[in-house]
Chain length 216, copies 2
C-alpha cells in the first residue's frame, strides 16, 4: 500500500474548504489514503510574518472574488462566515480527540465543519458550534457526542465538550502544529505526497499528475 497523502489545512481557510471537497476522491483514484491534519495558521504566521489572506489590501478583495468563482466552477456552495477569519482551535481539538477513536468520523466531522463555515457561512469558532455540528453530522456518536439517552448511543455530549478543555487534547494540538511547522508547512491547504509538498488548492492538478506519473 503506497503512503497516504498528508492534507494540512486550517478550518478557517476557505481554499482549504475547496480542497476538502476534492482531496479524498483524487487520492482514491490513485489508490491512496489521506491523512487529514488540521493546523492553526495563526501560529505559523507568527513565524512567517504572514497574515490572513482576505485582510490584505487589494489581494483580499481579489481573493473573495476568486473563491466564489472557483467554488462556482466546482459546483460547490460558497459563503464566508460573518466572523472571518475565525479561531479554529475548538474545531481542531474536537478533530484530534475524535480521530484517536474514530478516524473516519473525524474526517466526516472536518467536512461537516467546513461545509457549515464556507458552504453555509455559519460560525464554527465556538466549542458549542463544534459540538452542535458534530451531533448534526452524527459523528462522535458512540464515543461521547450526542444525547446520552438516545438509543444505541454511548457516552454523551459531555465527553467531546470535556475534551475541548482537556489539557492532554490541548497539548496534542500544540504538538501537531509544531510538527507541521517543523516539516515546513506554512499555508493551507498544503499537501505532501511521498515527501513532495504542494501548496494551494490550485496545486491539486499537479498533485494529481504527480501521483499519475510518480513525479517528474
Amino acid at each position: 500500500m503506497p503512503a497516504p497523502i498528508d492534507f494540512y489545512f486550517d478550518f478557517s481557510s476557505p481554499y482549504g474548504y475547496l480542497a476538502s471537497e476534492q482531496i479524498d476522491a483524487l487520492a482514491a483514484r490513485h489508490g491512496r489514503d489521506v491523512v487529514w491534519r488540521p493546523i492553526l495558521l495563526g501560529v505559523v504566521f507568527q513565524q512567517t510574518g504572514g497574515q490572513p489572506l482576505l485582510n490584505i489590501p487589494l489581494k483580499g478583495g481579489y481573493a473573495r472574488h476568486d473563491l466564489a468563482r472557483s467554488a462556482r466552477l466546482l459546483g460547490l456552495p460558497f459563503q464566508l462566515p460573518s466572523t472571518f477569519p475565525f479561531l479554529s482551535v475548538a474545531a481542531c481539538r474536537a478533530f484530534y480527540w475524535l480521530r484517536d477513536q474514530d478516524p473516519a468520523g473525524a474526517v466526516a466531522l472536518a467536512k461537516a465543519l467546513y461545509r457549515e463555515a464556507f458552504g453555509k457561512g455559519g460560525d464554527i469558532d465556538s466549542g458549542e458550534a463544534v459540538l452542535r455540528i458534530a451531533e448534526s453530522a452524527g459523528v462522535g456518536v458512540g464515543v461521547g457526542v450526542g444525547d446520552a439517552g438516545g438509543a444505541g448511543r454511548a457516552g454523551g455530549a459531555g465527553e467531546m465538550a470535556a475534551a475541548l478543555n482537556d489539557p492532554a487534547v490541548k497539548q496534542r494540538l500544540r504538538d501537531e502544529v509544531s510538527q507541521a511547522i517543523s516539516k515546513g508547512v506554512f499555508g493551507s491547504p498544503l499537501f505532501v505526497v511521498d515527501g513532495e509538498p504542494f501548496w494551494g488548492h490550485d496545486r491539486l492538478d499537479q498533485v494529481d499528475l504527480w501521483l499519475q506519473r510518480g513525479g517528474w
Copy 2:
C-alpha cells in the same frame, strides 16, 4: 474582434516568466490578442504591504522548489538570477519605449528578457544588460537599437539607451504602474479577461476555461 487579454507582470517575477511562455498561445487558441503590461511590483507592495515571495520564511523556500518543479512540468529551462529579486525599471522603460514604435518587437524583447533572467539565470537589472539583450534578440533594430553602422539599421544603440533616461519614458512607466494599481492589479502575473481578473500562473487553466465558456 473580441477584446485582448491584459497580461500584467513584473520582469522580476519568476511565475510571470512561466506565464510569458504560455499566454500568447493560450490567447491565440481563442482568437484573442494579448496586451503585455510590465509593472513594478515594488510600488504595488508599498500599498499592499506585500514582499518578494522568495524572501518570505518557509514560503520562499517552497516557492523555489515549486518554480523549478513547475518549469520542469512545462519543459522550460529555469534558473534564478544571482541577484534576486532585482530592479526591473530599465526593462520596463525599454519595453514601453519600444512598444510605441514596434509592439511585436516589445513583446519579443519581453520574452528575451524573461528567458535571460529565469531561463539562464542572467542579470537584467541594468540598462546595459537590457540593451545587450535587445540587440541579441534583434529587437529595437530599425528604431534605434544596435550598431548604427549595420546594414539596414536605422538609429543606433544610443536611442534606446537615451530612452532609458528620458523623463517622458520615466513618466510613462509611472503612469502605467499607477493605472494598473487603480485597476486593482496587485501581483504578477495577473490576467484580465473581459474585465475578469485572474491572479497567478496557476490560474491559466481558469483563464483558458473562461475564454472557452465565456465565463461561468
